[in-house]
Assembly symmetry: D2
Homo-oligomer: 256 residues x 4
Amino acid sequence: MKILFTGDMVGSAGRQVFQRVIEKLRAEGRVDLVIANAENGAGGRGPSPEIAEALLNAGAAALTLGDHTYDDRKLIPMLETESRIVRPANLPPGSAGRGMTTLETDEGPICLISLIGRVFLDPADCPFRIADKLLNLCSAKTIFVDFHAEATSEKIALGRYLDGRVTGVFGTHTHVQTSDETILPGGTAYITDLGMTGPKDSVIGRDVEPVIQKFITGMPQKFDVSKKDPALEGVIVDVDVATGKARSIERIRERA
Amino acid sequence: MKILFTGDMVGSAGRQVFQRVIEKLRAEGRVDLVIANAENGAGGRGPSPEIAEALLNAGAAALTLGDHTYDDRKLIPMLETESRIVRPANLPPGSAGRGMTTLETDEGPICLISLIGRVFLDPADCPFRIADKLLNLCSAKTIFVDFHAEATSEKIALGRYLDGRVTGVFGTHTHVQTSDETILPGGTAYITDLGMTGPKDSVIGRDVEPVIQKFITGMPQKFDVSKKDPALEGVIVDVDVATGKARSIERIRERA
Amino acid sequence: MKILFTGDMVGSAGRQVFQRVIEKLRAEGRVDLVIANAENGAGGRGPSPEIAEALLNAGAAALTLGDHTYDDRKLIPMLETESRIVRPANLPPGSAGRGMTTLETDEGPICLISLIGRVFLDPADCPFRIADKLLNLCSAKTIFVDFHAEATSEKIALGRYLDGRVTGVFGTHTHVQTSDETILPGGTAYITDLGMTGPKDSVIGRDVEPVIQKFITGMPQKFDVSKKDPALEGVIVDVDVATGKARSIERIRERA
Amino acid sequence: MKILFTGDMVGSAGRQVFQRVIEKLRAEGRVDLVIANAENGAGGRGPSPEIAEALLNAGAAALTLGDHTYDDRKLIPMLETESRIVRPANLPPGSAGRGMTTLETDEGPICLISLIGRVFLDPADCPFRIADKLLNLCSAKTIFVDFHAEATSEKIALGRYLDGRVTGVFGTHTHVQTSDETILPGGTAYITDLGMTGPKDSVIGRDVEPVIQKFITGMPQKFDVSKKDPALEGVIVDVDVATGKARSIERIRERA
Ligand SMILES: [Fe+2]
Ligand SMILES: [Fe+2]
Ligand SMILES: [Fe+2]
Ligand SMILES: [Fe+2]
Ligand SMILES: [Fe+2]
Ligand SMILES: [Fe+2]
Ligand SMILES: [Fe+2]
Ligand SMILES: [Fe+2]
């Protein structure tokens, strides 16, 4: 089964290119299932229920989130009821929503876990120990982890820690795709960052000029989300869902 | 002129693979000049004078540094006298060493600038404003900037800010190569991170297991530099030194 | 001359207690001039022009600001025209407003400087070097510095650096008054933090329960500014304005 | 029972003033029991076994630690066996040492808990939730918490969270004593920071000049621990050990 994981979706340009590219990839037989990180789906902020719904309708089998999970409080009820959306599992106990879900597919169940890093990010529970706990609860052979984190050291360390125990670990959050996609020694597919599904002519999704002005002047700026040069970024992983083994990982960047 | 820029060099494995790969690339005619980020050259820490000397002798035309510049205080005198090593130019005035240098080549002068980011890193002067100041002082047409920074937003913003005014802006520091090498709209070659010239079977250069243990237990660990699976990472930029225009940028990862 | 410096003003409770207490202190002859840090004057955020105006009318001879300077963009024009408000002088060149001002008093001119720290705060220019530059421009004998910073090490270091060169260095930003008010060896009055002029029954100005919930659950909360148990905190410094020497520094905490 | 809690002990000057002052306070009948934060006991770094032993012999009934717990690995075995030393309880499970201990006194048992903050500090487990867990395990009526943290908001929030459930919450880590000692509404004694037991003529314990140079130049410095003007800082809490109620909290700063 060929599963596409896409990096942080940003704004309407991201949503449009997502829909068009996955239709094309499906039509070409290159992708069977799509899982999207949607954490900046609403103009750079966390998705509204309408946007989350639209992405699921557009063909995402499930959505992952990140540090922008609760930007839009109206999403909170949906996080409780919609089993196809996961937020970081190492948020405090009692946080709205779930950190792990199981997707039923023709080839068998796929477990999807979201975790968030702690280096250069807000406090959270230990992603390594929470991963251990969740893996004990998970009966599927095929398991994917979206690790939403800033520091390369933390991302690679978690990838190596879970190597051989999950099908894939894919980093998100930096909005820049890395070139280190690989099958780790233990058989786990890995990439440090999936990149961004959004406007490439931008600074991680925002219009260029105000961001530069902010860095130089420190004065408040209006950070509009760019619409220029949208592309979908992520990886396609070929998986034997029966065994949970990743056969290959391929990095992609596609314009509509 | 084909110029190779290599990402953060880590340890003896990094130094060996560097030497062997650049010899091969030169022999194959793929590279005319080599500039190396050497900030972790000494077992993960900043280089000693001996290591800096060895890298220059091994074929680096110049070395750039980063947040590890002063790890080895014995390097300080060499930073004052050796014009082929640059440390971040936006360190405070009076810091040992220089932030900009000019390399004379057969095709003309090449100006090399080092800058360091401020997001998730120690305080420093504004890299955007210091870049403006240095560009006023620089008479070469061909100008390269090593931007040693953590945050993708800051790196892309500086790239865009300097686009059209310099030949290339190449990020370093994260030790993971990104896949976004490009010629920006204004003609500047750009990549968010060159990656690492060091042991790929590692967590950004260190042995895997102690780093994982540090993340999980918080207890002190001995962080040895890995020697496993060394590779050189960076970009080759084809430049018209007479005009300072980048014709192309190509990402490379080479094992010895 | 007895000069009162008050710590970060928070919300309407802070503004009310400020007005009442300074009237009382003036009536009692305990205070001749009042300088207030107003950075959280508007419900915890930076002051509006109306609030800044009201504080000046209520008896503040000048206002200092901090990291919340530009929270309310409507203040920006006033920062350009109103010489009695200073924002951190080590913001980038070209930032709206001024970082130093001179107050004319019956006993002579008083120079007021605002600086912001860089440890655990956003990037800024070096407060130590900017202080040197401003002191060269300043002809008054009596000079006060509001150092708006988080880390005790940075605050004490700046106090010691300016000791003997200015009349007083007073820290702000943490909203908790320290007990280390002193005349430093060189004669400069110093305290690490003036404290808060606002509701003491709070978490640094905000209602207690939502802040606790935020720490525990990470879920979004509505952070209302408390109105309970307002107090004015700061120091009274007795100064010989002719010589610029601080005769004494006294810590105060007064309820209305 | 009058219990003295002392702030971060720094170096030999701190150890000497500690010993002399507590002898004096005991002789004067002002203090019955002493608990000391010892996290910088060894020249600014975490204590060695010898230094920890010496402090216990000098009259400390127990020692608390902080982010410097494991600076000296030779302390690790002692942390496992010596029940009178506590390190932050919200370090990862399996960390060497204990986070809670019970001291037997003539008037009854006293429970001592160490916790560490997460704002501007390394990742750790949630101090609020770990406090709940420990309080369930603790049968003593008299309970004290050393909260080793940087941010005033986090410290006050934990104090308010535990108000009425413990006898006292005392902040440490900033090395600057705050002036907000109080009995909170629920009866818990509280101060945001106990201050430092060490050389006051210093920057949080270090010689002044190298710290200033580090801030200005960024160049490496030798940070010797100061020996000048040592003082003991902390609070004396009068407690009814039978009920666990704090009758009063008094801030102290004593030179030998
Ligand atoms: Fe994102
Ligand atoms: Fe994110
Ligand atoms: Fe670096
Ligand atoms: Fe590096
Ligand atoms: Fe404030
Ligand atoms: Fe502030
Ligand atoms: Fe300390
Ligand atoms: Fe500490």
